[in-house]
């Protein structure tokens, strides 16, 4: 099985997101898009500011897990399409690290499918973020 690669090196640029929206103009059955963007937050932990997050993944497993999530979401919701991108490597605070894009005829389907996809990604996908502090120290992030 060849699952789609969802990973991009570094931050996800606003231009990439804009192009992705533009590509849907020919799909005229769509009436609603919903987009979730995850941004690296400049948390302050024990007095130290997070400057960036460095992401790593178990890529073959992540591809398979993402395929399972995609299949479950399409089975549950009447989506026209769904696109998911996640960063690998260093993403600076303020930059985008996750892009989930769902499209359907009507808004509720797009909202609900997007939310469920994001929740499952955060809980299940084998991806790890190392929070790098301004001073050079780091700690491994844990999703709650």
């Amino acid at each position: 099985m060849s699952a789609k690669n969802i990973f991009l090196q570094g931050a996800i640029s606003p231009a990439f997101i804009a192009e992705s929206i533009q590509k849907h103009s020919t799909k005229t059955g769509i009436g609603a898009h919903n987009i979730f963007l995850g941004q690296v937050r400049k948390d302050v932990l024990a007095g130290q500011e997070v400057a960036a997050i460095e992401y790593s993944s178990y890529e073959p497993m992540a591809a398979i897990q993402m395929e399972e999530i995609r299949e479950a979401i399409f089975a549950k919701y009447a989506l026209t399409c769904m696109h998911v991108y996640h960063s690998l490597g260093v993403v600076q605070a303020g930059e985008i690290c996750l892009f989930v894009f769902t499209s359907s005829k009507h808004r509720k389907t797009a909202f609900d499918a997007c939310e469920e996809t994001v929740e499952r990604i955060k809980k299940e996908l084998p991806v790890w973020g190392k929070e790098i502090f301004a001073g050079g120290d780091y700690q491994w992030k844990e999703n709650t």
Partner: protein, 79 residues
């Protein structure tokens, strides 16, 4: 068996840790975790440590054979 560790689990086990001798017979995920916790006590202190066998999350009862690819999955933090 071949073991790949990720994130903080990789830091605990070290970069060079890729092979683990769990004995001649197949072991369950629960047994493997016990053996690993003996060798690397810090693994037991993680909030969670999931095990994936051949790219799929595996419950405690799953049996692991020598040719399987085993991955140590500490708490994930994507997105």
């Amino acid at each position: 068996m071949k073991i790949i560790a990720f994130g903080i689990a990789k830091e605990i086990t070290g970069d060079l840790f890729t092979e683990f001798d769990a004995g001649p017979d197949p072991v369950s995920v629960a047994e493997l975790k016990k053996l690993l916790f003996n060798q690397f006590p810090k693994l037991e202190k993680l909030a969670t440590l999931s095990v994936a066998v051949n790219n799929t999350y595996a419950g405690n009862d799953v049996m692991i054979r020598g040719e399987d690819e085993v991955a140590l999955i500490p708490p994930v933090s994507g997105g």
